[in-house]
């Protein structure tokens, strides 16, 4: 480079990503030593040779393998030392960021004098460590508050948000945003002119102010996490206390916190969930090396049914570049579907997830129709019509003729059998289940259901479609309720049953939010809709036999029109006004309380009953080969229901309390309360053989 400017380009061999592992840090340290010794160096430019990644963060595999506190401390301090070298170089340093710049990658950028980012869509900047139960400990928790102020820094670290370039500029994470073609030239200009002047923000870091901000942040964190997650609370402490001391001392606080947090079970589980997500992103049903079935991508699809699910699927797919024909029989439903889609786009723009132009283009990709139109060139049809077998059979018989042979035909059914839907068709092998969760725009999980006749190629294409739209697939067998609803059913029914036997609505829900669920079961029923739940119960219920309690109150609520949130009344009463207050329990339900047997049960016992039923049903899913790997069950429950991620899913939770203990508790309940608690064969056998679902070290 000219003028004494040194360019350090990260380019990890044989990998699409740059991450900080031991070797990379080591090499960086050597280069920095050489630069520090060279008096002719007037500037250092950091960049990446990868097309869509600057540095994605620390090597998580390496990190999660560390268990000894001294090893952890050594690894943390080494990173801090290397980044300190960058900060202390006498010459100007600039990070030229194009692509993902996350965690340790952004901490490196923070150690530079200035940061310049490309406006490309691939550019994402942030500190997502908290999502993994840890904290930015390579100087990030020290430097970011000093750069952009404590409130902004806390917001960035606590939310773990990956900022698009424009937003990163607004929040002060980077100094300039430019087109990627100019990135290099302008970074060199910055090296020559020196970093931009920054406003002093020291006033806001006076002790009482910092204390006040920390208190506010702590309250907010506790309100959203119920205190289950130590990392955000620790981050607030580190940032607050770190601002009162020197940078070196602040980094010591970071290291102390990291040593504590990395060893928590919460962090272990969160990192495990992260790996499960990565696993889902790569999931495939074909043997390695098998050719990718054609067509490889979905360019054009049909969504049949413009209800909440159909509209959600159409919106999400169109936003990811797929043309969607939104077909329904009733123009009024098509209109309502378009309205839902348009408002989802609008809110995505408001939240800066999409810009206006992209949202307009996405909306333009949805082609509404209330009459038959040719499906000649579509690659995929997703049926999201009413959950009635005869309706679906008629639809699929028509589809089998209307759609070209290369098109796959999917049903979004949540309660009917995919194999039954496909029965009698000329091409049953192209019928598959693609089961989205509500709301589609928020739920990342999609169950891909293998029907009896579904071919591997079709299943693989369904999985690839889910990948294409950025969702996470789990492949399941065609069993009633698949995995997620199957495990939820006994849980939700038990909640209603407990209520009918005198447990307070709030106690039932509090039991589970304290356990770590994002929402209590009765509240969840209100969100899902009592009518929908009762309908699913009717379809899926029979397979449970005696394992589901009868809940007369549910049908009574449906009859009374208390369908839950959409009706303004269910287990709770919802105010029409937008308030932040929690809804009040529906007092008028008291007459459905028919016994007092659960009145005196402590919250712990309520939670135990409901979680044990989930564990039991989760084990049955394995027993019946709905899925084969316990990881699939746990992953599906975490992503599909928000099952307390820090507990790692129902089966991981069973391991945590001990399978034998679980079996014992289930037996006790089976004797004392009802036979529906009887542990399944798998659990009993595992208890007898002292086995766990996972090897003990994971």
């Amino acid at each position: 480079m000219p003028d004494g400017i040194v360019r350090l380009t990260f380019d990890r061999p044989d990998s699409a990503a740059n991450v900080f592992d031991r070797a990379t840090i080591g090499e960086l340290e050597l280069r920095l030593e050489a630069i520090a010794a060279d008096k002719d160096v007037r500037g250092v430019l950091f960049d990446s040779a990868k097309p869509s990644i600057f540095i994605a963060g620390a090597d998580l595999e390496e990190l999660s393998a560390l268990t000894d506190p001294d090893d952890i401390r050594a690894a943390v301090e080494r990173g801090q030392r290397v980044f300190d070298r960058i900060a202390k170089l006498p010459c100007t340093t600039v990070a030229a960021i194009h692509g993902a710049c996350l965690g340790g990658g952004f901490e490196l950028a923070l150690a530079c004098d200035a940061r310049i980012a490309s406006d490309d869509r691939a550019t994402k900047i942030g500190l997502p460590e908290v999502m993994l139960g840890i904290l930015p400990a390579w100087g990030g928790s020290t430097r970011l508050p000093r750069l952009i102020g404590m409130p902004q820094a806390l917001a960035a670290i606590l939310q773990g948000r990956q900022h698009p370039a424009k937003l990163a500029k607004i929040r002060g994470l980077v100094d300039r945003v430019v087109p990627k073609e100019h990135l290099h030239r302008l970074a060199i200009d910055l090296l020559r002119t020196g970093p931009p002047k920054r406003k002093s923000i020291r006033l806001a870091h006076l002790k009482p102010i910092a204390k006040f901000i920390a208190k506010k942040a702590t309250d907010q964190v506790l309100a959203t996490t119920g205190g289950h997650y130590p990392a955000p609370l620790r981050v607030i402490e580190v940032v607050r206390d770190g601002l009162a001391v020197s940078e070196a001392e602040s980094q010591k606080l970071e290291a102390d916190a990291a040593v504590d947090l990395i060893r928590t079970d919460v962090s272990k589980q969160l990192i495990r969930v992260f790996f499960l997500q990565e696993r889902a992103k790569k999931c495939s049903v074909l043997p390695q090396g098998a050719p990718t079935p054609e067509p490889e991508r979905v360019d054009r699809m049909v969504v049949l049914g413009a209800g909440v699910m159909g509209a959600g699927i159409a919106q999400w797919s169109s936003a990811r570049g797929i043309e969607v024909i939104l077909r329904d029989l009733d123009p009024e439903r098509v209109r309502a579907g378009m309205q839902t889609i348009a408002s989802t786009y609008k809110s995505a723009v408001k939240k800066r997830k999409l810009d206006r132009v992209a949202a307009q283009a996405g909306l333009d990709r949805v082609f509404p129709s209330a009459i038959d139109v040719p499906f000649g060139d579509v690659d995929l049809v997703v049926e999201a019509a009413v959950e009635k077998m005869d309706v679906k059979r008629t639809i699929f018989a028509d589809l089998d003729e209307a759609a070209r042979p290369a098109a796959i035909l999917a049903t979004n059914t949540s309660s009917l059998s995919v194999s039954d839907v496909a029965e009698g068709l000329d091409h049953p092998q192209r019928v598959v289940g693609i089961h989205f969760f509500n709301p589609v725009a928020r739920m990342q999980l999609v169950e891909v259901v293998r029907g009896k006749a579904t071919s591997n190629e079709v299943l693989e294409r369904a999985v690839r479609y889910v990948h294409q739209i950025g969702k996470l697939p789990v492949v399941v067998a065609d069993a009633p309720g698949f995995v997620v609803n199957r495990i939820l059913m006994p849980y939700l029914f038990e909640a209603v049953h407990l209520f009918e036997n005198g447990a307070a609505i709030e106690s039932v829900d509090r039991a589970m939010t304290q356990f770590g669920m994002p929402m209590g079961p009765l509240r969840l029923l209100d969100e899902v809709g009592l009518d929908v739940a009762a309908h699913v119960g009717d379809h899926v219920g029979p397979i449970f036999g005696d394992r589901l309690p009868t809940c007369p109150s549910m049908q009574a609520m449906v009859d009374a029109g208390w369908l839950g949130r959409k009706a303004g009344r269910g287990f709770y009463v919802y105010s029409k006004k937008k308030t932040k207050k929690d809804p009040k329990p529906n007092g008028a339900l008291d007459r459905h309380v028919t016994s007092k047997s659960a009145v005196t049960l402590p919250v712990d016992e309520l939670a135990r009953r409901m979680t044990l039923l989930m564990i039991n049903e989760a084990a049955r899913c394995l027993e019946e080969n709905v899925v084969e790997d316990p990881r699939d069950v746990d992953f599906a429950m975490i992503m599909g229901t928000g099952f307390a991620p820090f507990r790692g899913g129902p089966l991981r939770h069973a391991d945590a309390i001990g399978v034998a203990t679980a079996v014992e508790a289930l037996r006790r309940l089976s004797n004392e309360v009802s036979a529906r608690f009887e542990p399944c064969d798998t659990l009993v056998r595992m208890a007898k053989e002292s086995r766990s679902f996972y090897p003990s070290d994971s």
Partner: protein, 426 residues
Amino acid sequence: MERMVIIDGVRTPFSKMGTDLAALGAEELGRIAVSTLLLRTGIDRELIDEVILGCVSQPADAANVARVVALRSGIPQHVPAITVHRNCASSFESITQADEKIRAGRGSIFVVGGTESMTQVPLYFSHRAASKFAKLGSAKTLGARLRAITSFRPSDFKPKVGLMIGLTDPVSGLNMGQTAELVARESGITREMQDAFAARSHQRALDARERLDKEICPVYAPPDYRKVVTEDNGPRADSTPERLARLRPVFEKGSGTVTAGNSSQITDGAVALLVMSESRANELGFEPLGALTGYAYAALDPARMGLGPVHAIARAEEQTKLGVGDADLVEINEAFAGQVLACLDKARSDDYAREVLGRDRAVGEIPEEILNVNGGAIALGHPVGATGSRLALTSLLELRRRDAKRALVTLCVGGGQGGALWLERL
């Protein structure tokens, strides 16, 4: 030579200015018509050679509106698009340009039609006001800014109504309504005749609701999708001759005969047609609605633009050898009842033929039973850039319904022109 066939067409409902479709610009109306056409025909969009749309008042934020419509409808980027303008015949022009290109071997598949939001025709500042704004914008010092601000006069802020400007012929200085008064006067068309004709247009349009429904696609109306617009809102059951008689003349106070009730309505809407060479249609297995047999544009005195159809019919006859007697259906666009009735009068006049058209016999009698059988612009409205395609589409569907052979579709054009298309069923 290769003949052009019309495969299919679709249009939005036509909605009176400021009503159901008011929030949609011409680009959005056009997008809905074109994307619905593509959806319903299932045409492989890669095969389209060009998109040609008529539009009289192009939106300032969607210049070359045809290109904007094409891209937003999902037509591939490599397919070019052109917006054409021949005033009221703009979307005739889109059809005939496609025909010319096909005959010249410059492509075989076209999306044509027209789009117009008359609601969203902007208001304009005068040139004088605009230059004052420019001066203000470039003023650097406080003094210069003050001087620029104080140069404004109240009249500078009075906008010119774009729609009124557009409907005034700058050469003759006459408003379109005034040209209608002139031709009605000269042909002895009374107020009563005009009102009776207008009432009939409404009645026929109402009777044709179900038939017109076949050419209309529902509009799920952005931006908030609170309503589905499914039908034209112009036709009124209460537009009887008696009620129409109560309206005051708009263009000639006192002695005039042209009222809002016997003139075309000011309307928003868009039309899209898929056209291709006959051989291409056969190859792809499409069953066309019909073919374009021939056409002509003719020009005349701008002050008498309403007689344009008579001139165009005469001209088309020279080329096609088809006369009004060969038509099973005739459309004369109802810009004004007085103007349509004047056309009928001049068409049957040997004198007019000799003196003005330069031919030795009259163009011919146009029987009212086959004229505008499903109503016209007086009832349905006249979104100027889209009307021509609407007339062609309506006629083709009506030919099919009646199992009849030929339609003669004509309109008058502001500025003193006329256009005539001969369409036939295959």
